[in-house]
């Protein structure tokens, strides 16, 4: 009887609320972006979007000012680094012309379209996740504008992330920094393909059976399974080689800057099945056998928009 009295009203309510929250979390994870969770999110987004837009507009100058303040401290260091980088880039530009010619030639052969040719929808970022653990952004365009789950989101710098939940007039974009996001990528210089996984602040490139090292400054682009091929994702931070024969891990500096996101473009109308069709015409390579996660799961599902598996592993 005494132990029963310990559960006062607030403790009972706590337990009840925890049970409700636990059930909601379970349903949400199980439904994987559909069901009641999406309906509730859509309702909340509809209610809060106007308020968030107003708040973002009002505070934009303040946010910009604080950004500028934090930038001043790192400007000198950045200036020195840029000078050095400039010298290196001059050398690379000379090499780039021939690489670009090769790339264009390859694209012609494979009848691949450049990302620029795909239809896009321009959207504005209206809000972000609740904390820095929540690597998502919400945009002001949704299914009414043709956006669907799995669409790639880019800005002028490169790939930002993928649409992982769509509402009528808004959508949620999961950033490439999210550890749950894995992208099939290619080293533009060595043409080796691998998987790129988010690591909160940075990106980790993993290449199995790497035949040659990836060098600092090599540009990493999407390999064209879930996302259209050729979208810049980032550059290799430090040269890395597969010394032990277990694969190669390299840190990649993202091309996009999460603190500088404002307007973005959503690539619509690209289906991973397009890439799958292209791949069936080509002989199967070692990379395709080694990296089935990106290339085969969506096909097996018959899931054109990659709702469940586009670049993400299910929890």
């Amino acid at each position: 009887m005494q132990s029963f009295q310990r559960f006062d009203k607030s403790t009972t309510l706590l337990i009840a609320l925890l049970v409700v929250a636990f059930l909601l979390a379970t349903f949400d994870v199980r439904s994987a972006g559909g069901g009641i969770g999406t309906t509730m999110r859509e309702g909340a987004q509809t209610l809060f979007s106007p308020l968030q837009e107003v708040a973002a507009a009002v505070t934009r100058p303040v946010v910009g000012f604080i950004d500028a303040l934090s930038d001043i401290a790192s400007l000198r260091e950045e200036n020195d680094a840029l000078r050095l980088e400039n010298e290196e880039l001059k050398t690379e530009v000379e090499q780039f012309a021939s690489i670009q010619a090769d790339l264009e030639h390859l694209m012609e052969i494979n009848s691949l379209e450049a990302p620029e040719d795909l239809p896009t929808v321009t959207a504005r970022i209206v809000s972000s996740g609740a904390s820095t653990l929540d690597l998502v952004r919400f945009i002001d365009k949704g299914s009414n504008d043709g956006i669907s789950v799995g669409d790639a989101v880019i800005d002028q710098r490169g790939l930002i992330g993928r649409v992982d939940d769509v509402f009528r007039n808004s959508a949620r974009v999961r950033l490439i920094f999210d550890p749950n996001v894995t992208i099939s990528v290619q080293d533009e210089v060595t043409s080796q393909t691998g998987l790129l996984t988010g690591d909160n602040d940075t990106l980790i490139l993993r290449i199995f059976n790497a035949e040659e090292p990836v060098r600092e400054g090599n540009v990493i682009v999407t390999a064209g399974s879930r996302f259209p091929p050729g979208i810049v994702v980032g550059t290799v931070k430090e040269t890395a080689a597969d010394d032990a024969g277990f694969g190669l891990d390299a840190e990649v500096v993202a091309a996009m800057n999460p603190t500088r996101l404002d307007y973005v473009k959503v690539i619509v109308g690209y289906s991973p099945l397009d890439a799958a069709d292209d791949e069936t015409e080509e002989p199967v390579t070692d990379e395709l056998v080694e990296e089935p996660t990106e290339d085969t799961v969506g096909e097996a599902d018959g899931n054109a928009d990659g709702a469940d598996s586009s670049g993400e592993e299910a929890p």
Partner: protein, 170 residues
Amino acid sequence: MRTRDVGISLALVILAVVAQTAVFGDGRINPWGASPAAVLVVVLACVRYLDPEPSLLLGFTAGMLLDLLGGAPLGLWAMAYTVSVYIALRFRSRADDGPVIVGLGVFLITLVAHSLFVIIGTLFGERFFTSTAVIKDTLLPALYNVVLAAVVFPIVSRLIGRRQRLGWST
């Protein structure tokens, strides 16, 4: 406590949620890569003056709104905030008056809330533990919240705390 106080608390929480997602969220104002948990500060400030049951419901609602407007599975922030409010309720009457105690309380409860979010999130398949950034993302918000509490607590105190004080005084 009156219904009016609950209404004001709810309005403050909604304002805080808007500020959190539009101003303080990832990629906005987040010095050293972390942002304050403004919503939790507002909830803790309100919990000082509300009865236990409305306090718990307020914490749950605040967490739920963050879940709905964020990217994590529904219910994670709700669980973390509900437990945090429960802890705050248990200690508010015992806490000595004074800004140091309040600051320490806010720091520890924010730390608990974020740690719970990370732990429960990991159980539900989120990959928070893949990076050392998780330590920064847990500790820094707690520190920022102490600073934010110095601004928020007096405001909430003026709005709903005139009649009733149950500890946590500034």
